[in-house]
């Protein structure tokens, strides 16, 4: 067994399943957004703002943000372990990815609840 302490869930199976579950959430969110933008009769600041004041929409969006972060981490971790052979550079890259992911989550929550 190959061990790794930097992968998302330590287990290959867990990472693989999370990648698929988060992909489904992101697809649902994307389809919803496309549908809303295409079929909404009134696309104004007021309607957009009221959409995001809805608690269900906030939960859905937060779920999408968390899914995006988990999905990106698993994907970029795979890319970095494939292509970056030097441990120090790989660890630095992964650290930057992790920091960015954290910033985006906090920033996203701030935007979402600041509407």
């Amino acid at each position: 067994m190959v061990t790794s302490i930097t992968s998302f869930g330590r287990s290959g199976l867990y990472d693989w399943m999370m990648q698929r579950v988060t992909a489904v959430v992101l697809m649902a969110y994307t389809l919803f957004m496309i549908g809303y933008l295409l079929f909404s009769s009134d696309l104004s600041y007021a309607s957009w703002s009221s959409l995001f004041q809805n608690t269900a929409m906030r939960i859905f969006t937060l779920l999408a943000i968390l899914s995006l972060v988990a999905h990106a981490w698993i994907g970029l971790w795979s890319v970095s372990t494939d292509y970056i052979k030097k441990t120090s550079i790989r660890f630095a890259f992964q650290s930057v990815c992790g920091l960015l992911a954290f910033i985006y989550v906090v920033w996203g929550i701030q935007i979402l609840w600041g509407v």
């Binding site: 067994m1 190959v2 287990s11 693989w16 372990t81």
Partner: protein, 234 residues
């Protein structure tokens, strides 16, 4: 026709190079790539390659022919030659020992990891462990692998992580024993594979299926291992 062959002799060459050789095929016949190599060796006895059975059973002469891995002995010139030119290179991703001969150590190490033998801790019966024809049929498409390494050396995931990712060939063998009803070590075998690299580095690129000279499907076997892991964990 023009044959461009990868040449490298570590004792005399600083770096590998491609040697262009013009050769006329006797009688204009459609011969196998291995026959062509034999003709080249008659011209230049230093040309080095592995070969043994010359009928696609031993798996010795796996090489890269015009960009695609395959066995030289069962690949006809008409199948690979384009615009009267053939480029022969060793299997990609493994260290080259000389010319078309690669060092297969890494490949065999991964094979060894999957414990490619039957494990059964129950007392052996007097004659043999029997299987139903249906159970035996589960092994079809798995046991035929000849370990030529064409698949694993065509796999980008194996190129990047040959020490961690078992590779299509090893995983096909892993599934061959996971699917065997006579084997009692299924749980231990699965535990060994449940990490982010051994199985899950497979991204379904399917180069392995594309090149397998025996027409096997490692991607499908890997999918079945994944399902086994999933079923065991949920």
């Amino acid at each position: 026709m023009l044959v461009s062959v990868y040449r490298y002799n570590p004792e005399t060459d600083d770096a590998p190079y491609m040697q262009d050789i013009h050769i006329d095929i006797p009688g204009g016949k459609d011969i196998m790539v291995l026959d062509l190599l034999q003709l080249l060796k008659e011209k230049d006895p230093s040309m080095t390659f592995r070969r043994s059975c010359r009928e696609g059973v031993c798996g010795s002469d796996g090489m890269n022919m015009n960009g695609k891995n395959g066995l030289a002995c069962i690949t006809a010139l008409s199948q690979v030659v384009e615009k009267d030119k053939l480029v022969l290179r060793p299997l990609p991703g493994l260290p080259v020992i000389r010319d078309l001969v690669v060092d297969m150590t890494q490949f065999y190490k991964q094979y060894e990891k999957v414990k490619p033998f039957l494990i059964n801790d129950t007392p052996p019966p007097a004659i043999e462990r029997l299987q139903t024809p249906e159970d035996r049929a589960e092994l079809d498409g798995l046991y035929e692998c000849i370990l030529c390494a064409c698949c694993s050396t065509a796999c980008p995931s194996f190129w990047w992580n040959p020490d961690k990712f078992i590779g299509p060939s090893g995983l096909l063998q892993a599934y061959r024993f996971l699917a065997d009803t006579r084997d009692t070590a299924r749980d231990e075998r699965l535990s060994e594979l449940d990490d982010p690299f051994s199985v899950f580095r497979c991204h379904g690129i399917m180069n392995c299926v594309n090149v397998c000279p025996k027409g096997l499907n490692p991607t499908k076997a890997i999918g079945k291992i994944r399902n086994m892991l999933l079923q065991r964990a949920t």
